[in-house]
């Protein structure tokens, strides 16, 4: 319940207004809300079935009938992009959620207990952080095989260590505060101190980092799709669509360009939102 304190605070009080007044926040909110609505209402707003091949209209340029044109099989690109937002956003949200939970537990335990446990956990995160994100994700995604869930697992494996580090840093800062000692002095258990007393202090930086990473995750998932080891065709995933249109880029530019543009917009939108959240919640992530 307390975990959601910051979020409920955002919803009902002036923080949301502040976020809206923030120049980046406004753009971020608009983009992310539109994308989420697009994903939720995909069946209602997409003009065509995303997998219906209109063989008479293959590789048709943008027109009134097909606003963003059609691909090599005659599928409507706008519809595929709309349905694709479901794939991209659900991968991003689920992956970020999984990473947050893993990172939260590891970071809390590591920062709170310190000592040998801390050393062990932090050396493990070092190992994961030593690899470039895309390379590590590539390795795990290809080892796990294609499919949405495997993409989520691969991305979570890449990202959790950053969260563990972030949370541990915050925990280290507040572990020695008197109120933590006082909680101990009234007989609160370690689990209670970690999840009741420390967790709420961690929510703001966690929320900011998670929002920023939704953009990064969309990009990473599309990257995997593009390279053919993530989500597989014919699933309308943005990275897959860019990849499929690659062959026609010189003449039928719209096949690749529009999905690519949406990857750009989505990433940008969530990054702006995260950026504004950081300012509004007054979180210092750089350390």
């Amino acid at each position: 319940m307390k975990t959601n304190k910051i979020i409920t605070m955002l919803i009902k009080n002036e923080k949301l207004i502040e976020l809206w007044r923030h120049p980046n926040g406004k753009i971020g909110i608009i983009i992310s809300v539109v994308l989420v609505l697009m994903a939720v209402f995909a069946p209602l707003i997409s003009p065509y079935d995303p997998n219906y091949p209109d063989t008479a209209n293959r590789l048709a340029p943008p027109s009134i009938k097909h606003l963003l044109g059609t691909d090599q099989l005659g599928r409507d690109i706008l519809s595929r992009i709309i349905w694709g937002s479901r794939i991209s956003l659900s991968i991003a949200f689920l992956a970020v959620f999984v990473t947050s939970v893993i990172g939260l537990v590891v970071g809390l335990v590591s920062g709170y207990y310190g000592g040998k446990i801390d050393t062990l956990l932090m050396r493990i995160t070092d190992i994961f952080m030593a690899f470039p994100r895309l390379v590590l994700a590539l390795a795990f995604a290809s080892a796990l095989g294609p499919g949405i869930y495997n993409v989520i697992i691969a991305i979570s494996i890449v990202y959790w260590s950053f969260y563990a580090r972030l949370i541990r840093g915050v925990v280290l800062q507040i572990r020695n505060e008197l109120y933590i000692q006082a909680a101990k002095a009234v007989g609160a258990s370690d689990v209670r101190i970690m999840f009741r007393h420390i967790l709420p202090m961690v929510t703001a930086p966690l929320l900011v980092q998670a929002t920023l990473d939704i953009g990064g995750t969309i990009l990473l998932a599309s990257g995997l799709g593009f390279l053919g080891i993530g989500v597989q065709p014919p699933t309308p995933e943005w990275g897959v669509m860019v990849s499929e249109g690659r062959r026609f880029i010189t003449h039928e530019w719209w096949v690749s360009t529009f999905p690519g543009l949406f990857i750009l917009i989505a990433t940008l939108g969530f990054n702006l939102l995260g950026d504004a959240l950081r300012d509004v919640l007054d979180v210092k992530l750089k350390r």
């Binding site: 505060e177 008197l178 909680a183 007989g187 007393h197």
Partner: protein, 279 residues
């Protein structure tokens, strides 16, 4: 001064802190007894080790502290031999502590109600509703006006005196056998100090709680304590009945401390402690 009614018996307690420059002894061979319902004032200047004694009794010393030797007998058990889980069950239930700064003792992001109710929830396994009811009663008992509003407030919305009342509620809600009060009034406005002091005295009389009252204020110690223990550089320099100590202080440091209290009408210069000890 040992008697069967002693709730706490500290024998030769020695605590050091590990620092970058080696070990520093903070408390050396401190021994004292505390009877049921009695108030012991531990007096000393900053750095004399009085707070370390208090923290050692709850075993919440900072990680770099080492208890070199000694025994702390509480209720017939040497609490230095207990495991962490058994100790946890004693803290807050049988031994409580009140810290100096009420504002930083309370978690800034949790509502007051939750912070008080936490104690009965952890120790008695009460459900939330029962625990909150108990918490509200306790707040009322400590003289907090409008307890319902305070239950729903965050610490920054309270005044210092109000926050200290909340901290006292947390400490006393389970009627502990022993209360460690570490300068509970030093951070408060003078006008509030007396009220909070009265409240603590009233509560401990009601519950029969023994108190270790840590302070640097001799007149305060004289006012509320039954016995007094004066510490200087980690050692006990004076220990005994309040009246005896004030009437005929044995150690030069105690004499010096008593002489350092300015009196109305006294003209001339107050001597520093060093000057007086050297005399």
């Amino acid at each position: 001064m040992t008697c069967l009614e002693d709730i706490l018996k500290v024998n030769n307690l020695t605590v050091s802190y590990r620092t970058l420059r080696g070990k520093v002894k903070a408390v050396e061979n401190v021994s004292f007894n505390l009877g049921k319902g009695k108030i012991l004032a531990v007096v000393g200047e900053t750095g004399s080790g009085k707070t370390t004694v208090g923290l050692a009794i709850l075993r919440i010393l900072p990680p770099n502290a080492v208890i070199e030797k000694g025994e702390i007998w509480f209720n017939g058990k040497n609490i230095l031999d207990l495991d962490e889980d058994a100790m946890r069950r004693i803290r807050g239930k049988e031994i409580s502590i009140i810290f100096q700064e009420p504002k930083i003792t309370l978690n800034p992001v949790l509502k007051i109600g939750e912070q008080i109710a936490e104690v009965p929830i952890e120790h008695l396994g009460l459900d939330k509703k029962e625990a909150y009811r108990l918490a509200r009663m306790m707040l009322e008992r400590t003289g907090v006006p409008d307890p319902d509003r305070v239950m729903n407030s965050y610490p920054h919305e309270l005044s210092g005196g109000m926050a200290q009342r909340v901290v006292i509620s947390i400490a006393m809600i389970l009627r502990p056998k022993l209360l460690v009060a570490d300068e509970p009034t030093s951070a408060l406005d003078v006008s509030v100090q007396a009220q909070v002091l009265d409240l603590i005295q009233e509560l401990v009389r009601e519950t029969g709680t023994s108190v270790i009252f840590i302070t640097h204020d001799l007149s305060l110690a004289a006012e509320i304590a039954d016995e007094i223990l004066v510490m200087y550089y980690g050692k006990v320099v004076e220990y005994g009945d309040v009246f005896e100590v004030f009437k005929s202080p044995k150690h030069p440091y105690t004499r010096a401390l008593l002489n350092a209290i300015p009196r109305i009408g006294f003209r001339g210069r107050l001597k520093s402690l060093e000057e007086m000890i050297n005399e």
